[in-house]
Every structure is written in C-alpha cells, then in structure tokens.
C-alpha cells in the first residue's frame, strides 16, 4: 500500500498540474484506504413539469421542466422532450433548485444528540492533528442527517472542529444515511484539511492547557513549522522516487499536509478576521499551496478583493455575530459583498438547526443586500447554497447545478425557496427520491430514533 501511494503521488507530480487533478479525482480509488463505496439508490426516469426552475448557473426558467434519467440531469428547459414511461411530477406553483450543499457541518462527529460520549469532532491532544480523518468519527445514525435532508441538503462536508491549528481531514458525503461512512462518501470528492485561525487554538491550548499556542503569533509559527516539515517530507519522497535516498517512513500527519502541497487536499480554513485571512493567504504563498475556502469569515467583506485575487472562497453565515470577539464586525451583506467583489461566496451552517434551512439564510442576505441597492436576483443568490459550495468542495463538475450530465441532486420546493413558508417537498439524490414530505416511505428514520420515545396515542 505504501509503495502504491508513493508511486501514485510521484506520478501525479511528474505529469504536471492537469494530470494531477485527474489523479486526485480518479473515480477508481478502490485501492485507497476507506474508499467510497457509494452507490446511487435505484431511480426511475422522472420529469418535473411546469415548475419555476433556478438552475444554479444564473438562469431562471418559468414553467420549466426537468428530466432526470439514470441518476443524471438529462434535460432542463421550457420545452423538454420526454420519453415514454417516465414518472411525471406536477410542479405547478412549485420551484426547483439544485440540491442544497453545506460545506460546514458537524453531523456525525458532533451529532445532534449531544451526549458526553458522542463528542468526536475535536482531537484535543495536540494543536496539529493533521493525521486524523474525521470520517473515522462519523456516526452514520445521527438523526441530523435526515433533518438536513428534509431541508433539501443533498451534499455536505463534515469537518473536524476548530480547536486545533490543523484539525485533520474532512469528508464530503452524499446525504443518505447508511451503514458505513464509506457508503456515504461522495465518490471522487477530494479530502479537505481543516485549519483554524484566531481565538480557538490559542484559547484551547494557551488558556485551558497552558501550552503553545497562546497567541495569534503563536498560531502562525505553528502553521509555518508544520509546512516546513511537510515540504521536507515531500522532497524526500520525491527524491526517493527519483532513486535518490530512502523514502521516509509513512507519516499520517505529514501525508495530509503533503497532500495539500500537492494540490490534492483542499484547505478549509476557519478564520474570522480580515487581517488574519491576509496572513493565511501569505502563508499559502510562502509554502506553495492554496487556501480553498475561509469558513465563518465574518470579516471577509473587508478583504473580498484579496479573496477574489487568490481565487479563495468564503463560506459565511447570514447574521451570526458577537458570540466571540472575532465575530464582532458582522454585516448582513457579507456574502453579497464578497460575491460582488468577484470571489466565490456561499452560505454555511456549522449548526444542526441552521443546516435545515440554508435557503432561508440566503434569503435574508439577498434581501438585506437588495435594500442597499445591490440588485441580487433569486437565480443568482441560489448559487450561494448550490454551485458555489460545490466549487468549494471540488465537486462542481459533478453536482451543484441543473445541467445535463450532472448528478440529479435536486430539490422540489413547495414554493419560492426564498420564503420562510416554503418547505422542501421532494429531494432527489442521483435521481433517486430520498425525501418526500407527503410520503412516509421516503422519510427515513435512523436506528437511534427507533422506539426511543413512547408517545401515547401517536402510534409510534
């Protein structure tokens, strides 16, 4: 296995960047540890007719039809040719969007059931735990997955917590509760690396454990020392691949960091303050990697031009603020301002309640921005919970918009998804019906919930 991975990495590097991405998203990753075993659920060819469709690519189609065949989007438009024997769904008065994507969830590792023994999101043993993979914490029977599904969430990233400078690897899941996390893993999705700026690492280590880092400058010294070690590890691997010296013993921590340096693992960086984001972008330049997405990013609007310049995304809340000092400078228009600056902007939840209605959170931002004359249409704002998070996760070629050939990850809403009164009526993942508000057969119930509460007269 060691030999195999080393050879694969070396191959990618020699072949250059384009092929490198080819390697990273290689669908046949069965040789990789904990590879995805995801299989789409059975699906029937289905057409939704006469709905208002927001494609996620900036288009709005009135009285539109969406055809799903073999798990893929087959056609979208006003006039769609539909073969025989297709399940017909009347979308009159209803709206269709791509499946909701949340890039920041702790379902499974901080499940909705918050017992002492279920708190598996932060490996608090060291400020650098790049060696942990959060998929090994994910409890697939977390009822939160189903609640998120009822809110239209089809894809989500589970991140390690933010206590550490390097929290470990994230995992991107298709939101179908299953018996193993491997069976939920989004096929071909790259891993992420969770990093954290600011208050959390210095509080968790400095204040509570009396060890480094105790300051923000201590945080930065910690990142840089780790990247130096990762670069050295990678250099030795490359040299050994070229016949120069022994390959270093496999090191899980350095392997993750080296994966970032090689562009195979995407950086998801918890960071609130503008000047800290600017520092993190410089660290990335110093060591030759890219910051994929800043998370929380309450001050992203202050450095939106820097984000655009570096091609770095920002994942934000609509209105969370004040729970800590680095979240003091909230403006409700944050997502809209980052978007307007040309950077990739999106909503995120970091909450098992918030994930159930990310559409509403985006609606709040859109309306706040429009009151300032920013003129944001629904067909544009929908990207903040669909296509842009797909980009952040490196899965936008497969999902995030309603384009022919993409995975049929789709939500049929009871009405305008930018209204508080609207609910997800039907949710499809890879063309399969996985949630139906009006049909109990498609309202999954996790093991945990079975027979748990005796409710007299409820027949449960």
């Amino acid at each position: 296995m060691n030999q195999w991975i080393r050879r694969m990495y070396a191959g990618c590097l020699l072949a250059g960047l384009v092929v490198l991405w080819g390697c990273a998203s290689d669908q046949d990753d069965s040789h990789v540890a904990f590879a995805s075993t995801y299989e789409p659920l059975p699906s029937a060819p289905t057409v939704i007719r006469n709905a208002t469709i927001l494609t996620g690519t900036g288009e709005r189609i009135e009285e539109g039809s969406l055809l799903m065949m073999d798990g893929r989007i087959s056609a979208v438009g006003r006039d769609v040719t539909v073969p025989d024997d297709v399940v017909e769904i009347d979308g009159t008065g209803k709206w269709v969007t791509p499946g909701v994507i949340d890039v920041h969830s702790h379902l499974g590792n901080y499940p909705v059931f918050k017992a002492d023994s279920t708190q598996d999101g932060n490996e608090l043993s060291d400020p650098n735990t790049a060696e942990v993979w959060t998929e090994h914490s994910v409890w697939t029977q977390d009822p939160g997955f189903v609640m998120a599904l009822a809110g239209g969430v089809t894809t989500l990233q589970i991140l390690p917590g933010s206590a550490n400078l390097f929290g470990g690897r994230s995992v991107t899941l298709k939101n179908i509760p299953r018996r193993s996390v491997q069976a939920m893993k989004f096929p071909g999705a790259p891993h992420g690396l969770k990093m954290a700026c600011g208050e959390n690492p210095k509080r968790v280590y400095g204040t509570l454990r009396e060890r480094a880092p105790t300051t923000r400058m201590g945080n930065v010294a910690g990142y840089r020392a780790a990247w130096i070690a990762a670069r050295d590890y990678l250099d030795k691997q490359e040299a050994a691949a070229n016949g120069d010296g022994e390959a270093p013993l496999r090191d899980l921590k350095l392997e993750t960091l080296a994966g970032v340096l090689k562009g195979e693992i995407l950086v998801h960086n918890h960071c609130y303050r503008g000047e800290e984001m600017a520092v993190m972008l410089d660290i990335a330049k110093e060591f030759g990697y890219k910051v994929g997405t800043f998370h929380h990013a309450v001050e992203a609007y202050k450095v939106a031009d820097l984000l655009a310049e570096q091609g770095t995304c920002a994942a934000m809340w609509a209105d969370w603020w004040g729970f800590k000092l680095e979240a003091f400078d909230m403006v409700r228009e944050n997502i809209a301002l980052v978007d307007a600056a040309g950077a990739c902007a999106m909503i995120h939840s970091d909450s098992d309640i918030g994930i159930q209605r990310l559409n509403q959170e985006v609606a709040k931002v859109m309306a706040a921005a429009n009151r300032r004359g920013m003129n944001i249409a629904r067909e544009h704002a929908v990207k903040w919970f669909t296509l842009n998070p797909a980009k952040s996760l490196g899965v936008d070629a497969q999902t995030g918009s309603l384009e022919p050939g993409k995975m049929a990850d789709v939500v049929l809403w009871t009405g305008d998804p930018f209204s508080v009164y609207t609910l997800a009526e039907k949710v499809y993942i890879d063309g399969a019906l996985v949630w139906d508000r009006n049909d109990a057969r498609y309202q999954p119930k996790t093991d945990f919930e079975l027979g748990l509460v005796e409710i007299e007269g409820e027949g449960q």
Partner: protein
C-alpha cells in the same frame, strides 16, 4: 428622556433631537393584535409616548409627520421573552457578562435589573430591527473550575424597553428563574433531586419567614438555609406577583414542576420546553406559559428526545399561551430572528396570528405586562415593515419606541458603508 420632556423648556431644548412627536402612519396593513384584527389601509397615530388612534377612518392631527406605509405592514414592536440584552456584550468575554453568579451562594436575591446597560451595542442592533421590548433574564454561569451546588435558583429577571437610557425598566422583578433538568442537576450536585430540594427548602424557609418575620429577626426561628435577601426576594413569588420561570425540557420534568407550582401556589412559566407538546393538556390546565424555540427539533440530549417541529402548534391547540425565543443559551445577539422562528412555526402548522402573538402579546401576557397591541393609550412601540414581518426577506423601515423613532444607523450599518467599496485612496479608518 421622556420624563425630561414633561418637566420643562430647558429639558425640551436639550432633548429636542430625540423628542417624541406626532406621527401618522398611513395606508399599511395594521396588525392590531386586538379584536380588531388586521386592518387593511389602516392609520396609526402616535402622539408623544402613546398611540392616539388606530383605524381606517382616523383623523390625522394637523402638523403630524406622515409616514406612508402603503404596501407595508405595521405591527407593535416585538417583545423577546428571554434575553441577556444589556447584561452581555460578547459571549466568550466574561468581563462583558452580568447574567449570573458562579454558584457561591443561593441566587434568589440576585437581580439583573440594576446592572443592565441601556447603551449596550446589542440593544442598539436589536431595536433597529424591530424588537422593542425584552425580558432580561439571569442564568447560571458555567465555569469549568467551579463545582456548582447552588446554581439552580438563578435570580430575578426584569422587563425593559429598548428605547432610552433612563426609565427603561418596566417591571422588576418580572420572574424568579430556576434551572431544572439536566443542567439544573449538574449545578446542584449531580441530580435533579438536588435542585428540587434546594428550591423546596428555600420556599419553605421563605413561607416561614413571611409569617414569622419579627421572630426571625430576634433569632427566634430555626436556622434557615437561605439568607435574608433571598427570603425577601422569594416573597413576590409566593404571593403570585411574579412567575417561577423554569428551564426544563423533558416532559416529566415539566410535570414535576407543575406539581411543585401547584403545591406552593406559584405561577409557572416553562422555558425551553422541547417536550412540552407531550404534556400540553397538563400545561393548559395549570395555566402555565411556555417559552420555546419552535425550530428546535433535534433530540439534543436525554431530556429532549421528543423534540418536534409540532411543539408550537400542539401547545396552541391545547390552549397553552406560547412565546418564542431564539435564546435558550445565553447568547442574545440574534434576538431579531424571533420573527423568523414565528414564520417557521407557521410553515409547520401554527396559525399566522398566533405566531405573531408569540412575539408580541404572548410574552407580555406571560409576564403580566400590558403590552403588544396597537390601540389607543398603549405605549407607542410601532414598527413599519417593508413586507410580511414573519418573512425572511422583510426588514424594518421605521421603529418607534414609546413614540420616539429609533435611528436605523448602527455599528453594522457603518461597517457596511465603510467597506461597500474597497477602492481606498486613504485606508478605511479615514472613511467615517
């Protein structure tokens, strides 16, 4: 400020910028929250601190400032039933928090009212978004190094309005707070029984004290568990003047508290109440008020396994008076989102008017305050919304508190203006 305007000319000139005035809000959909219901094309006249008239055919006083609310919606200012407004700035900065003690002593005499800072940044951000009244509540203060034994009785809350820096406390005390359930157990030595025995002992002491005050002062009573100020603080509770506000989630915990309240003849309010819908009839019979977050549907712990999105609608159908809070965890930064909660409750089956009541008259009635209706002689807390107030795409256009229009500028709007364009010649600090 309001008091000053009544006193004399000198005060008037000083206070002129923020003075009450005569205002007519015309043409909007007016949710009166009274038997008059919602009035289309209604007019609300504000004179000084009060509402002078509400209706369709209302004479507009000469010289009144007219606010055209055609196509807009007018409601009373919203009331948040559970907050730490004025006693919290930043949740993780302990020096900015005044909502609780670390459990060193029994807490009944602890009051939040005098520590409230009406100039708090949170209050300014909250009121411009249409929340004009709030219950400010004490809570236990969690500290990792303190082993709490006496944290369950958290102290006394107060009702405030958010419109001025003086005379802002409307009712104090407004409620006696008791933390029950898992948290109450944790801060009472490790079991629910610990919280209950401390409460019962204190109530028994307070009853004995009220009947034998002079004997107690002469040292002629048995030793009491609690101190003199606690004994005094418990009297309004025993007299039924203020409710016992109990943080409890589990159905059986709620039933326990209903029994205790009956034993002592106490008014009861349940806060949190995730499983309340399972015992809705019991709560209705007891006449207890219930403060919930209607979107809390997760089985978050052993005490909230039956959390459900139907909590609000089942409670209402049973005849229970409900109010909505965003804050069950001592973080009050997003109080304005109580209207989003109300909207979601409607999406899950609650009648619209009931949802609106849960953030206006509901909290007022639960705490026995005359507030939350647009009617003559009511305090003029009035909000003009640019659409349906329960809708997530709606924001407040005008907010009046006791007749004074609240400035819409805040730290957040100033930051937006500063960074709206990133094309800086001089750095942002020069843009103000």
């Amino acid at each position: 400020m309001m008091r000053a305007t009544c006193i004399g000319v000198a005060a008037l000139t000083i206070a002129s910028a923020a003075m009450a005035e005569t205002v007519a809000i015309t043409g909007g959909t007016v949710h009166t929250m009274t038997d008059a219901g919602a009035i289309e094309g209604g007019t609300v006249v504000i004179q000084d601190e009060r509402i002078a008239a509400v209706g369709v055919d209302v004479r507009i006083p000469p010289g009144a400032r007219i606010i055209d609310a055609a196509g807009k919606v007018v409601t009373p200012g919203l009331m948040a039933p559970h907050t730490t407004l004025g006693i919290e700035e930043i949740s993780l900065e302990p020096k900015s928090l005044d909502y609780g003690l670390d459990g060193e002593r029994f807490g009944a005499a602890f009051s939040v009212a005098e520590a409230i800072n009406p100039r708090s940044n949170l209050i300014r951000e909250t009121r411009r978004q249409g929340v004009t009244r709030a219950v400010v509540a004490p809570s236990y203060r969690s500290h990792p190094l303190t082993e709490l034994l006496d944290g369950a009785v958290a102290g006394q809350g107060a009702v405030i309005h958010l419109g001025s820096t003086d005379d802002f406390v409307i009712r104090n005390p407004a409620g006696m707070y008791f933390i029950y359930g898992e948290t109450g157990a944790e801060i009472s030595g490790g079991a629910r029984g610990g919280a209950l025995l401390r409460l019962r002992e204190a109530l028994d002491d307070a009853m004995d004290y009220s009947q034998n005050r002079s004997a107690w002062e002469q040292g002629d009573r048995r030793a009491f568990y609690v101190h003199r100020l606690d004994l005094e603080a418990l009297q309004p509770l025993l007299r039924g003047e203020i409710p016992l506000v109990v943080k409890a989630e589990r159905a059986s915990d709620i039933e326990t508290m209903v029994r205790l309240a009956t034993d002592y003849g106490l008014r009861l309010v349940i806060l949190g109440a995730r499983e309340a819908w399972l015992v809705a009839d019991t709560l209705a019979t007891a006449g207890a008020g219930v403060i919930i977050n209607p979107v809390e549907n997760t089985p978050a712990s052993f005490e909230s396994m039956a959390s459900s999105l139907k909590n609000a609608s089942v409670l209402h159908a049973a005849g229970v008076r409900i109010a909505f809070t965003i804050d069950t965890a001592d973080d009050s930064h997003n109080q304005p989102n109580i209207r989003q909660l109300a909207g979601n409750a409607v999406a899950h089956g609650l009648p619209y008017e009931v949802a609106l009541r849960a953030i206006t008259t509901g909290p007022a009635e639960i705490f026995g305050v005359d507030y939350g209706r647009l009617a003559a002689w009511q305090d003029a807390d009035v909000v003009v919304w640019d659409g349906d107030p329960l809708e997530v795409t709606t924001y407040a256009d005008h907010v009046f508190i006791r007749g004074r229009e609240i400035p819409m500028e805040s730290r957040s709007t100033l930051l937006f203006e500063r960074y709206r364009s990133l094309d800086f010649e001089y750095p942002p600090a020069y843009r103000h």
